[in-house]
């Protein structure tokens, strides 16, 4: 009996290493964070810090004191991203030598790993002024539409850009491109060599078009760029259930290949600069894909490095051209919109938070819906919101081209 009982006790002892620990803490230790900009020692407007716990899908908002100190408490452990926003007053702009009435301040940090039992060491965070961009994306339609026979149609996509400034703007140096979405939708992108996760210094575009040789856009003027500048919802050979007629689009992404069976429609064609693995239609994925507007001289574009995705990430079933991208420094990007499949696909972000701190999404493929910037009135003028945060700037438009 003793031996049997001893055996049972031994089993209990052996199993004791398979116990969960008893937690002593639930939240991350309290800490403080210091934000700073140029030589400012005091901020007239309080700086706001949004901590997003991506592991738990919880958000916390804290405010700074006037010296830029932010006291943080009660955070759940997890992987965090931090977004800072603030505003400089006219007096502060003046004291810094800027000719602005006001300016938005921004700052980001990602992949903050806050753990139980460890004091977070985030350090000081330098803020920057969000640049005022004259030409921006206004509306993007990529989700596709259903056909009257319940089929799917995605030749009707378009991108519209607008001159949001008060001055005329020549788009002759403007290029439009789509970033790589290797890994497919809903999947995190590869980390390119030399880049820091979540804070990329470059954009990696799979395709790049020069919009036109020269055209001056007056303030508020909009240009529509179509995949196919066709009367999609007017003729049966397209899709009568499409939400758009793009026959009056300003430009078309026509592929000049003799074997291209798609018609070259009347709209002026853009010039294909880079798309080694081209198809006959330039279309975004229906779940969305990051888009960029680049401003550069022809020589600068020629100098952009062509890079290949490291072999670790490559799928051997794709051609070699498929893995080629243009590596474009962020400084050439005038506007960027990170588009992901849905509100939870944050890991699929491709752009640095400096270019786009958020992401836009529709969440319904073949829904015939687009994303469009929020508008507001500035005196008599309709302007389009641009804070370099697509989550804040864009909404879903149920009827594309209606605004």
């Amino acid at each position: 009996m003793r031996r049997s009982f001893a055996l049972l006790v031994c089993i209990m002892l052996l199993c004791s290493c398979r116990y969960d620990d008893t937690p002593t803490e639930i939240f991350v230790e309290d800490f403080s964070l210091k934000v700073q900009y140029a030589g400012l020692h005091k901020f007239s407007n309080r700086i706001k810090a949004d901590f997003v716990n991506e592991t738990e899908q919880f958000s916390y908002c804290f405010e700074s004191d006037e010296t830029g100190n932010i006291a943080v408490s009660g955070l759940m452990p997890g992987i965090y991203s931090l977004s800072i926003r603030g505003e400089l007053t006219a007096a502060e702009c003046h004291s810094l030598g800027y000719d602005y009435k006001r300016a938005s301040l921004s700052g980001y940090a990602s992949n903050l790993r806050l753990r139980l039992g460890e004091k977070p060491e985030i350090g000081d965070l330098n803020l920057f002024v969000v640049p005022d961009t004259p030409v921006i994306f206004k509306e993007i339609y990529f989700a596709g539409s259903h056909t009257p026979t319940e089929g799917n149609y995605r030749n009707d996509s378009f991108w519209s850009i607008v001159n949001n400034s008060d001055e005329p703007y020549d788009i002759g140096k403007l290029y439009i491109g789509m970033c790589e979405n290797y890994g497919g939708h809903n999947e995190t992108g590869p980390l390119w060599p030399g880049e820091t996760l979540g804070n990329y210094a470059n954009v990696y575009v799979q395709s790049l078009w020069k919009i036109c040789p020269s055209r001056v856009l007056s303030p508020g003027e909009v240009v529509v760029i179509a995949t196919m500048a066709a009367p999609h919802n007017k003729q049966e050979n397209y899709n009568l259930a499409s939400p758009v007629d793009l026959s009056k689009a300003d430009y078309e992404a026509y592929i000049p290949d003799p074997e291209n069976k798609y018609p070259d429609l009347p709209a002026p064609n853009m010039t294909l600069v880079f798309w080694p693995d081209y198809a006959y239609l330039w279309r975004s994925g229906v779940f969305g894909q990051a888009c960029v507007l680049i401003e550069a001289e022809i020589e600068e574009v020629e100098d952009f490095e062509t890079v290949t995705l490291p072999e670790t990430f490559q799928d051997p079933f794709e051609s070699e051209e498929y893995w080629l991208c243009k590596k474009i420094p962020n400084s050439f990007v005038v506007d960027a919109v990170d588009i992901v499949a849905n509100s939870t696909a944050t890991f699929a972000k491709r752009l640095s938070p400096e270019l786009d701190a958020g992401f836009a999404y529709i969440g319904e493929i073949y829904s015939g819906k687009s994303i469009i910037r929020k508008d507001y009135l500035d005196g008599d003028r309709t302007r389009w919101r641009d804070t370099n945060n697509s989550t804040e700037d864009f909404v879903v438009n149920p009827l594309p081209l209606s605004k």
């Binding site: 049997s4 052996l14 620990d21 937690p23 753990r115 493929i365």
Partner: protein, 511 residues
Amino acid sequence: MKKIILCSFALILCSWGIFAQSLKKYEVDNFTEYTPWYHGGECAVNALHRPMEFASISLSSSYKDGKFYRPQEGRQYADVCFEAEGSQNVGKFSLSGSFNFCQSWNKGVMFASTLDPFDWNPYVIYDQTGGDWSRQSYSLWADIAYPIIKGKLSAGLGIDLKVGRGAKKVDPRPQANSNHIELRPSLAYAPLSWLKFGVAFIYALEKENSNLILYDSSVPQKLYLMKGLGQYTYEIFSNTERERKFEGDIFGGAFNVEGALSEIFRARVQLEYLNSVKSSRDIDFSKPHQRGKLFTDQLNCDVSFSGEFNGMMLLISEKVVSKSASGRELVQYFDPSPQVNSWITDSSLPGRYHRSLTSSTSRIAAVVPSKNSGTYVVDLSMIYSLDKQKYEATESFMNISRRVFSGAFEYIHDFPKAWIRGGVELGGAIPSKCENSVCLREEQDRTILEGLITPDFDYLSSKSISCTLKLSCGFSVGKTDLSIGAQGGILSCPSRKKNSARSQLFLGLTF
């Protein structure tokens, strides 16, 4: 699986010829139901006791419908089951075992993506749509015992195999497969003719795979990645597949001591300890993504007194179960660098979710023969349980304390070549102290709180009564007893004016 079914049929056909005696189904039922050591953990004891020899097969079908049910139970349930069970002494070996196959159809099941939504594992996936499930389960157990020293020392091996398959028929469609294999090598020792000890080592391996599939990926679905007690993160699911895998093992041991208090009465004390660890992981970006681990610890203590004299059987037992579980969440991030390209564990959050259950079951049962070829069966039981759950990080908890009473009274009448059995079973559940406070995870989405947590709490904290009528009869055909039976009952919650009805039909052969 086909091999298992074929082997089972072969076993049944062989045993048909071997058994010469004609046992009635109720005799087998009384033996399996009221003999504490039969399939009792340390099967080595069988070699010292030599169990009753029998073989039976049965086909049964049950049906349940009504409005008083838990969301994960489904509003309607129907099944068809086949079961074969037998026990035989072959030479010095004592063999007993059972094979069971069940096909079930379950309508209106909410918040389930695994075969058993009442499993304690908190790291499961729920969806918003719910739907109808179809499930198949195969289970097989076998106990083999062999006397090493006749009447003194014996060895045994218990094997338990359970396989389950199931799927929901609406997007997102979980297709679940589960496997459980358990081994219980045991030794039994009888130092004195009236005293026996048994000891067993327990090892089990469990695996389940739940693959959620979207047939129509143009309609995205919201998936809740649960963490326990209504806490979750979510994702909008528009991929074609979302796979979650569960893997775990159980280590444990059992010890029993059995003594004959007199020629009539036996006392038995059994202690069983089980320790399990179950991990849950997804396949994200084609790489394993660990979600959490559940550590479970269970201690069972069973004290029983049984007696058999002049055809009368008596069982008095007290079973106490103490089970506790702790859920550890894993914080992982995806490192997309060429050198790593996989999910990396950053930290773990131990003891995030806790659950404990203490229950005590008191039972007294008697099979009493009457003078006029009849037998009375009385079976009374009372279960007290205290089930506590907490998720401290969001100050959520749920405590359910309840007593469940049950009393079955049956009469069996024997005719020269037939028998008839009829009875009634009355029961009731009385909650004593129930409280809950569960944090709403998202202000704009109350699905889990209002669809699962609140209705489940209402069900468990409601008083209910039940009544079941049973009727069966059997005929001796040659060396075989053919039995047929039916039972029907109602479970009612008067305060909420909700009822559900249950019925069962069965057809059995015993030989």
